[in-house]
Every structure is written in C-alpha cells, then in structure tokens.
C-alpha cells in the first residue's frame, strides 16, 4: 500500500512548468512556547503541567528565524543569523549545527544535525510520513494552503501542516516534507512550536547558496539509526520523568 512518493515528485517536477519558476529563499518565523511543549509531555503529572502553564503564561514564548533555499529539485534549510527576538539583541546564543539538505530529484537527504552532544550526518533516501489531507483552507504569506496532519509517534508530536496549493514542491521546514505543495506553516503539539513562512524572496540561486558549510564533521548514520537514537532518548527521558526536549531539536 505504502509507496515512496519520490518517483512521483520527480515526475511532477520534470513535467510541471510552474515548478521550474519557483526558486528563491523563504524565511520562516519559528515560535517556541515551552509551556505548550510541557503540556504535551504526558508522563509529567497534569497538576505540574497546569501549574507551569498558570505561572508562565504569555512569558513562555521564544522566537527565531530559519531560512530555506529552494529550487525545483533541491532545498537547504538552516537557522538564520537574523534575530527575531528584539530583547535578545543583547545576548547571542550559539546555534546548534542544523542543516537539512534534500534532493527531490535523487530522492535523498543529507542532514547534519547536532543532537545529544554529537553531530550526526544523516544520509539516506527519503521516506515521506503518512500525511492525512484535511478540508481546511487558509492563506499563509500570500498563498492559499490546504491542511494536512500527521502524528510523530517517536517524538510524541501532533503535527498540523499547511501546504501551498500553487507551489508544487514537496519540501518543508525542519525535516517535514512529502506533501503535494510546499509546506508554509507547521504547528507542533498545539503551539509548542509554530513555524510560519513570513517572507518569500524569489531569485535565482547560486550553487553556494545550496552548499553546506565546509568544515562540517559528523558521524554518518542512516535515517533508521537517527530514529533509533531518538527513540532511546525519549524512553530514557520518560523513565527519568524529565522533559525530552532538552538536547534534541524539538
């Protein structure tokens, strides 16, 4: 029943005229809300989670920008140097290594991710998640988008994605992909993390835009290895009754 969508994506990207035109840079605004993240950690008692939400309220938000370079066949996604938090301008945090590079023509991923104190290079073919397509429409950054949902059973996340009906590229922010259009917005765990495309700059990209920084080193693993690492971490955190989101990308 299940089938890799990649061959189809390939067919579309070759056949479609519209796809050829889409090349440029998308800026996403990522809003983290740690009380909402805590609210989804089911092994921490409901009383504690409710108290956290009651005490932190609107103070628990944290904003950042990310960037996606996009061509009809390739994408590169990374954290932006541009700061979204005005009050944060006094202090600069180190950004963890996080580069998500996808080639939808060869159906491959080359992701460099810092996780649990190590840098990993995940090289594998692409396996799209089982998205469900829903009947809601809304506009994100000037594009009419359709709603899709997915439950990530490894990271315990409920994901709502909005994909553009008029941008036929199966890419998306973070590690999300595999929908008939470009993913413009992602809501993880009811506002725990909300990613919204807020600026689209169409222009011709150079090869350096899509290249990864040269000095990146990391242990090469497969996507299955990566999932196994995550699963182990989630299990340990569950046993220790600690929130799982410190040490890994949410």
């Amino acid at each position: 029943m299940k089938r890799t969508i990649a061959t189809l994506i390939l067919a579309i990207s070759l056949a479609s005229v519209g796809a050829q035109e889409m090349e440029g840079v998308i800026r996403y605004l990522v809003v983290h809300n740690w009380t909402k993240k805590m609210a989804a950690v089911d092994y921490i008692s409901k009383q504690q989670r409710e108290r956290i939400s009651y005490m932190w309220g609107s103070r628990s938000e944290w904003k950042m920008y990310t960037t996606m370079y996009i061509t009809p066949t390739e994408t590169k996604y990374e954290d932006s140097e541009e700061r979204a938090e005005p009050d944060d301008e006094g202090y600069s945090w180190r950004q963890d290594v996080y580069y998500i590079k996808r080639n939808y023509q060869t159906n491959t991923m080359h992701d460099v991710i810092q996780m649990l104190g190590k840098t990993y290079v995940i090289e594998d073919s692409l396996h799209a998640p089982d998205w469900k397509i829903l009947n809601d429409l809304k506009e994100v950054a000037g594009h009419i988008c359709m709603k899709a949902s997915w439950v990530d059973t490894i990271k315990q996340q409920k994901i709502i994605a909005w994909f553009a009906m008029d941008i036929p590229i199966s890419a998306g922010p973070e590690r999300f992909f595999g929908l008939p259009g470009l993913i413009m917005e992602v809501d993880v765990n009811d506002g725990g993390m909300l990613i919204t495309a807020d600026k689209i700059d169409l222009k011709t990209l150079t090869t350096s835009d899509l290249a990864l920084p040269k000095k990146l080193k990391g242990k090469k693993i497969s996507d299955a290895d990566y999932i196994a690492l995550l699963e182990k971490h989630m299990k340990e955190k569950r046993e220790a009754e600690e929130p799982p989101f410190w040490g890994i990308r949410y």
């Binding site: 029943m1 299940k2 089938r3 969508i5 189809l8 579309i12 056949a15 479609s16 005229v17 519209g18 921490i44 008692s45 009383q47 504690q48 409710e50 108290r51 956290i52 009651y54 005490m55 932190w56 309220g57 609107s58 103070r59 005005p86 301008e89 006094g90 202090y91 600069s92 180190r94 950004q95 810092q114 649990l116 104190g117 089982d130 998205w131 469900k132 397509i133 009947n135 809601d136 429409l137 809304k138 506009e139 009419i144 359709m146 009906m165 008029d166 036929p168 929908l179 008939p180 259009g181 971490h233 340990e236 046993e239 220790a240 009754e241 600690e242 929130p243 410190w246 040490g247 890994i248």
Partner: protein
C-alpha cells in the same frame, strides 16, 4: 456512523470483487471548472478513504488532464485541489477494467468574497465540511462591546437587515445555534442580539433540512440555511484549590487553603494559612500558584548600566509575599492571608495583590562567646529569651502596557505597613582571662515599632526603527517612616567588688524618615550586527532623617544628651558610564567604564531645631569603576564566564551616626561620621558543561574579592567600673583583606535513570584585618565543605537517597595564635519515598548531625528522624489523609558555630522537637497517585 458503514461496505465489496478486477489500474480524468473553463495544472491526490492518508499525488497538465498510471486497484478517495476552488472529493471503487476514466471532474469556485475577504484580508481559516463552510470569526475586528449581530454585518456573504434578520448567500437563516444547541428558543435573533462578539470563535453556515423533512424523513428538497456560533475556549473557565487541616499532640495545629479561578486573560487567587509548626510563610509552589503569571518579573529593574536591566529574576524582590524562611530556632505561631488578581491580554498586564501576615516568635537560647585581644581573652555565657510579634500588611501592584511593538511602559508600586512588638530578656555572665567570674548583666528590653514604606517605579523602553538601537528611562520614588520606642533596663552585678550593683534605665523614642528619588537612562546603539555601544546615566538622591531621643525614666524622663541625636543625612549618587559589547554566535564580551560620584551630607544636633553638634559634614567620593565580562558558549553545551568589577558601596546609615547605641551596655556600638565607602576588586569565573546524552553535568567556579578599602568594625575592650568588660565597636576603613571561594559540582548517572550521584565541593578562604584595642589583628578563615549523595530509583514505586556532608572551618587569629579554632560540622542523611500499596505512600528521612569544636571540647550529636504515611481517597484522589511523626527521637535543637574577627560564638536554641500530626487535605484537581521524581516549573 452512516458514512463509516458505507465505507466499510465499499471496502468489503472491493475485496470481494478483487478476484475479478485487475490488480493494477490507471486512473485518469480532466479537471475543469463548473462553468466549463479550463483549470491548468490542478493537484490531484489519491487518499485512503478510511482515514484520508495521502497515498499518491500528481499534477494535471495545462488542460487539466491527469493520470495515475499503474496504481493498485483499491478504493480511493480522489481529491482535487486548485487555488480559488473548493476542494473536490470523489470516492473511487476498484475498477473492473485496467483504465478507470473519470471523464470530466468539475470543481466549484469559492466565491470571491470568501476568498478575498475571509481568507486573504481577515486571515481566517476556511473549513469545508460537506456543505458547511466555517470560518474564524475572531479574525474580524469589531469594537469592544459589539454584539454578534454587529460582527455578522461584517462577514462576507451574510446580510443583516435593520430588524436583525439574517440572510446567508441570499437565503434566510432560520435557525441560529450556539455550540450546536438552540439558544433561548427558536428566534434566531435571540443569540445574535444578546451574545457579545468577543465570545465567539467560529461561525458556521450550512444547509439544514426543513422541519417538514426532519419530521417525515423524506427530503422535500426545501433546504434552509442554519448558522452555528462556536464559543471561544477562553470563555470556558477553570478553577483549582486545596485545603488542609492538621492537628497534633502538644497543641500543634496547622491549616491552609488556597483557591484560584482563571480564564485565558484573568487569574484570581486567595490563600490563607495558620500554624504553630514553624511554617512562617508560603513555599515556592504556593507562591507560584498565588502570583500566577506575575511569578516572574523580568526587565523590572530600572537601575540600568553594568549589571542591571537585563536580568530575569523571581517575583520582583519577592518581598510582597512572606516565604517560609524559618531559621530553625525557636517556636513560631503564624497567620497569613492574601488575594491576588492578574490581567494579561498580551498588550496590557496588570497585577494587584494584598497580603497580611503575622509571626510570633518565642526564642530561648544559650550562647557562648569568647573574645580575644592582645594578650588576654574574656568570655560571656548568655541565656536569652525573646518574644517577637511582627505584623505586616502589604499591597503591591504592577502594570505593563505594550504601547505598540516598539514602546513599553512598566509601572510598579508597593506599600507596606508593619508593626513590631518585642520583648527581650538576657542574662549575661562574664568571665575574665583566668576564667574567673567578673560580672553578670541582666537586660530586660522592650521595643514597639510601627513603620510604613512606599516604593514606586516606572520604566519606559523604546526601540528605534534601526535594529538594535534602543532607549530606556526609569524613575523611582521610595518613602519610608518609622516610629518606635525602646524601653531598656539592665542590672549589672560585680563579683569582685562585693556590693556594687549598677542599674540603668533608658527610654528611647525613635522617629525616622527616609525619602529617595532616582532615575536612570540607557541608550544602546549598534555599530554592526556584532558590536553594540551602550551609554547610561544613574541618579539618586536619598534623604534620611533619624531622630532618637533617649530619656531616663528614673530622673523625670530627662533627656540623656549623650545618647540623643537628630541627624539629617543626604546621599547624592551620580553615575555615568559607557560600554562596548560584542555579541555573536555564543560569544558575548563587554568592557566599560563609569565615573561614579557620591556626595554625603550630614548634620547632627541633639534634637530637631537645636544647634548643630558639629559643622555640617560633606564628603564626596569620585571613583572610576571599570567593568569587564566575557562569556563564551562552546559547542556541545559548555559555557565559560569571566568577569571583573570594581565595586564601590556607600556606608550604611547606621554606621555613620555620631552617637552610640548602648541597648546592651556591655556591647556599645558607635558610628563613624567619617566613614568612607567600601571599595573592592571583584573577580569571578565559572565553567560548566552539560551532557544531554549521558544526562550528566559538571561545573567549577571561583570568586575573588580584593579590598582596597574595607569597612571593618574595630573593637576596644576595656574594663569600665560601672559596666565591667565593655566592648565598643566602631566602623572604619582599612586597606587590605580578601575573600576567595572555589566551588564545584557534578551530577551524573551511575545507572541511567536508576542510580545517580552528585558531588558538591566548596573551598573558601579569607583574611580580614581589624583593630583590637589599637593593635591590628588579622583573622584568617579557611574552610571546605564536601557534600555527596546518591539517588536510587529501583522502580516507579520507590525512591531512596543517601548522602553526607563534611564541613571544616579553621580560624586563625594573628593577635593570639593559641586561640585558633577548628570548627567541624558533619552530617549524614537518608531518605525514602515508597508507594507500598495502591494509593498508600510512606515517606521518611533521617539526618544525623555532628557538631565539634575541640578547642572547647564541644561535641554534640543531633539525630533527627521524621516519618509519615499518607493515603489518597476517592476516585480522582481528591482527598488525602496523613499521619506524620516529626523528630521521633525528640532530639531536635539548633546549633550554630562561627568565628569572625576576634571572637568565636556558639548558639544553641531550643525549637520544635517531637510531635505527631494527623492531617486531612482536599485538592480540587486531585493528588497525583504516584511518587514524584522531579519538580518542573
């Protein structure tokens, strides 16, 4: 249900037919719009008809022709999406032939109004459920106080006439439901005219079969429009609360309760407690639930410049609510009650709270103190008894307004009324160098004090259009008044001079006032993305008025001139500074310099309006204070911080007064009007690392103070005929002295999630010079402390901990090396939490403390063992009963040993020892039916 039954049938049918049908199929068709126009490049998806999972997708060509080649021949939900059109869904059965040609697939345009107004202009989500179109009403802005009807007038596709009749897409809306239910009968206007627009989150418009067809079950084709209004989540309120009552033997009791109500914008809470088991205030959990969203007060510090302005700290200064800060000595009876209100709609935040608390302390203690000077020592053994009642009323408010995205205003005010009634009896027994009794002094003092304090501040922050450029200004006003009387009585008996007895009576009236205004400015200019330049200015002016009138009740309440004083003191503080900061990718460095000007003005007389005792005193201090800090975040969760400051602290007011305080005649405290500020080089360093994979952390840090000018308390010890051995302390500035502290900690698992170990260590050393009878004495302190513990969690039902602590403190006195002290405190501890049956818990902890000082052959052990059993009751575990025994061995006593300057002191105070207690608690949210590993907030 009907839909699912149909799907099930379809699947079953599909399976049955599978044998006949080809296993693979090509599905094709052409997408066009309902009016026959071409729709180029449509997106066509094949979904699983059961759960809408995406199986396959493609894109049609310029004419809208699409095909799925060689896909499995199973039931599908075919979905067509096209910008500006309603998504179309078609159920496909397995095809009997190899090509399933769907022919023309017609899609229906979304009305322009819905698309342009709802989706594009109002940014509302459009949900399509069959024939229902629903959208987010909250996206349409209406003035506050508007009704639903006012809002409906703005919605595209909906018309409301003058009488309030509603039409949707040209058809009359016959019914209006609220959350799916009819609202006050059949009149559709009842809901729309009466409900506030702000309560509605969604508006749904759909076709409903007519009443006729609902009755007959036959579709008469007469559909009518119906509307459903969905209420907002936030108008669904929440509440929680707890109440506990406990009684024990020996008249021990405790009660506490709190209740909270909230919605997404408002929080309201009340709390009350009372007990005689030494809980003097609220704990952290109570505080958080009481203050709610105002628990954390960030960016509230208006003292800009080095150190200030950017820090995140808890609840302002936390002084508005009494914390449980019992120091382990004596018995207390406590009452407290408060009410808090928070409002937060993201733009405006308001907090107001009131708290009343009172604590009555009964403290009986013995103290042994030995004082050293050049070639001699003396000691005093004291027995004292104190009853101290304190009452406080506290009102505090905080208001924050986000004027727009670049301007914020914060205003805070707090006022506090306090009453203090204390009586103090002390019996002191002095021995001289040869351990011979010298004299005994009995003191009986009473104090009554009423005071009032107001603190207010306002902070305004502005961000300029240029990124990183910002300006902030603050203003503050503080005012305080206190009015008190001290009734002092002492009798001194001398053992050598057989008959001499000296009695002193004194009545002090203290009337003090303080007023402070302050202001700060801060301007930040970015030079680039990485470099910032900050300039700040701080100003404050503090006026203090102290009036102490001492009288002798034995002599017609005549004023005692030598002890009466009225002084007026003004401190003017100006600081201007500038710093350069570099911030980029985990490296933050700052270097700056400030010029700090301090002017102290004082004038002294015996009473208000009387001639000055001395010429007015004016002292000015100008210091240039540098500041450096550096922090670097290494890859993989390692941080380094380094800092240097030149700290200048103005003298305390009490240290400046020209007339002595002799509340205890044997310990005379003098002030020094010529005292200068304390100046020190302060350096700090720390480095720490956290490893998320092994769940361990480690850190090390150090602080070092080198004094240029240290405020020390010089002592003069002399034999005075009518007093005996009298110690006079007088503050003065000396150069030299230092303080050093090194600390490290580590926390790591031995068996992940089961057994963890922690180690903490601390080494400190310090040198403090001071004069004793004019001879310089240098006291050196050197101490270290090691604390280690293991935490073992074999199952979710059991948590155990063991640990130990060693504390060494060596004190050496240059003035008399034979008196060098070695103070030792050791302890071991063990604890267990065990859920031994469903809803039954056992908790216990055992501490064994050892106190040693070989110099005095002091050796005392204090074992303390507490244990309790509790049980949860009820389906939702809302009720808890608990039986607890505290200090089973009945050995609890408070011991403190310390040594500074030229003396060592040991205090032993009685406190609450063994008692039993039974308690019943009720929690609206229910108690957690498991043992807690961690507290996350």
């Amino acid at each position: 249900m009907i839909k699912h039954a149909w799907l099930f049938g379809l699947l079953l049918f599909g399976t049955l037919l599978a044998a006949q049908n080809p296993s693979r199929v090509t599905i094709k068709g052409t997408v066009i719009d309902t009016s026959g126009d071409e729709t180029p490049l449509p997106t066509v998806m094949l979904l699983n008809p059961v759960d809408s999972t995406l199986i396959n997708f493609t894109r049609g060509d310029n004419k809208g022709e699409f095909s799925f080649k060689n896909v499995k021949n199973i039931p599908y939900l075919l979905k067509v999406s096209y910008v500006g059109y309603l998504p179309l869904q078609m159920h496909l059965s397995p095809s009997p032939s190899e090509v399933n040609d769907l022919g023309m697939v017609r899609i229906k345009p979304i009305t322009n109004e819905l698309l342009e107004v709802v989706v594009k202009a109002a940014k509302a989500t459009l949900s399509i459920r069959g024939d229902t179109i629903e959208y987010d009403a909250s996206s349409f802005k209406v003035p506050p106080g508007s009704t639903v009807e006012d809002m409906l007038r703005r919605l595209p596709g909906i018309d409301v006439d003058a009488d309030g009749n509603i039409k949707a897409q040209g058809k009359d809306v016959k019914r209006v439901y609220v959350d799916g239910k009819t609202f006050f009968g059949d009149d559709p206007k009842a809901a729309t005219k009466n409900l506030g627009a702000e309560t509605i989150s969604k508006v749904q418009v759909y076709n409903e079969a007519s009443e006729q067809s609902k009755l007959t079950g036959v579709d008469d084709g007469k559909e009518q429009k119906a509307m459903n209004l969905e209420l907002k989540e936030e108008y669904k309120k929440g509440a929680f609360g707890k109440i506990t009552a406990a009684v024990g033997n020996e008249e021990r009791w405790a009660a506490r309760g709190n209740y909270n109500r909230f919605n997404t914008k408002e929080q309201f809470s009340v709390i009350a407690y009372g007990n005689n088991i030494n809980q003097t205030g609220v704990n952290w959990e109570d505080y958080g639930e009481f203050k709610g969203q105002n628990t954390f007060g960030d960016f509230d510090n208006g003292d800009f410049g080095f150190g200030g302005g950017r820090y995140f700290y808890i609840g302002g200064d936390g002084s508005d609510v009494p914390f449980n800060n019992f120091d382990g000595r004596g018995f207390t009876e406590n009452f407290g009650s408060g009410v808090n209100y928070n409002f937060d709609n993201k733009k405006t935040k308001l907090n107001a709270s009131y708290f009343y608390n009172q604590t009555e302390l009964t403290l009986n203690q013995t103290a042994f103190r030995q004082t050293f000077f050049q070639d001699s020592t003396f000691s005093n053994s004291d027995t004292s008894s104190r009853i101290d009642l304190r009452r406080n009323h506290n009102i505090s408010t905080r208001f924050e307004q986000q004027l727009d995205s670049n301007n914020v205003l914060i205003v805070k005010a707090q006022t506090r009324f306090s009453h203090n009634d204390a009586s103090y009896q002390q019996s002191q027994f002095f021995k001289d160098n040869n351990d011979q009794p010298n004299n005994s002094l009995n003191i009986d003092n009473g104090t009554l004090l009423d005071s009032w304090r107001l603190t207010g501040s306002a902070i305004y922050r502005h961000r300029f259009r240029k990124k990183g450029r910002s300006f902030a200004a603050s203003a503050g006003y503080n005012n305080s008044k206190s009015d008190g009387t001290e009734n002092l009585f002492s009798i001194n008996r001398f053992f050598a001079a057989t008959t001499l007895t000296e009695q002193i009576r004194q009545l002090n009236n203290n009337d003090n006032k303080g007023r402070q205004i302050k202001s700060s400015l801060l301007f930040t200019e970015p030079f680039s993305k990485k470099w910032f330049w900050e300039t700040f200015y701080n100003f404050s002016q503090t006026d203090n008025e102290v009036n102490r009138q001492a009288t002798d009740p034995e002599v017609n309440n005549e004023r005692i001139e030598s002890l009466s004083v009225f002084y007026d003191n003004t401190v003017q503080y100006n600081r201007v500074g500038s710093s350069l900061r570099y911030s980029y990718k985990g490296m933050n460095a700052m270097a700056g310099l400030a010029a700090q000007h301090l002017q102290l003005d004082g004038s002294y007389s015996i009473d208000r309006g009387e001639p000055l005792l001395t010429d007015p005193i004016r002292r000015t201090f100008l210091n240039y204070v540098p500041h450096i800090d550096f922090s670097y975040e290494f890859p993989f969760n390692m941080w380094l911080n380094l800092g240097y400051d030149y700290e200048v602290n103005e003298p305390q007011l009490n240290d400046l007064q020209p007339v002595p305080n002799v509340n205890n005649p044997a310990f005379r405290i003098e002030g020094n009007p010529n005292l200068g500020p304390q100046r020190a080089h302060s350096m700090n360093f720390n480095i720490n690392r956290w490893d998320p994979a092994s769940m361990s952390s480690v850190g090390i840090g150090a602080n070092y103070y080198l004094f240029d000018s240290q405020i020390v308390y010089n002592q003069t010890i002399e034999q005075v005929d009518t007093i005996g051995i009298r110690t006079t302390t007088r503050p003065d500035n000396v150069s030299g002295g230092n303080r050093f502290n090194l600390y490290l900690w580590s926390n790591f698992p031995i068996v992940k999630t089961k057994l963890t170990m922690n180690i903490n260590g601390n080494i400190n050393a310090g040198k403090a010079p001071s004069l004793v009878n004019g001879v310089e004495n240098e006291t050196s302190n050197a101490g270290f402390e090691v604390r280690t513990g293991f935490n073992y969690t074999p199952s979710t039902k059991l948590i155990m901990g063991v640990g130990g602590n060693l504390n060494f403190n060596n004190i050496t006195y240059s003035i008399q090396e034979s008196q060098n002290q070695q103070i030792r405190n050791y302890s071991v501890e063990a604890s267990a939490k065990w859920q031994f049956a469903p809803k039954f818990f056992f908790e216990s902890n055992f501490d064994y403390n050892i106190y040693r000082n070989d110099r005095y052959d002091f050796n005392q052990d204090v074992p303390i063992w507490n244990a309790s059993v509790r049980r949860l009751l009820g389906k939702q575990n809302r009720l808890e009963t608990r039986l607890a025994v505290f200090d089973i061995f009945n050995r609890r006593v408070s011991i403190t040993q310390s040594g500074t300057q030229n003396y060592v002191i040991r205090n032993i105070a009685g406190t609450l020892a063994r008692y039993f207690m039974v308690s019943v608690s009720y929690n609206m949210r229910g108690y957690e039916n498991k043992i807690k590993k961690n507290e996350w907030w």
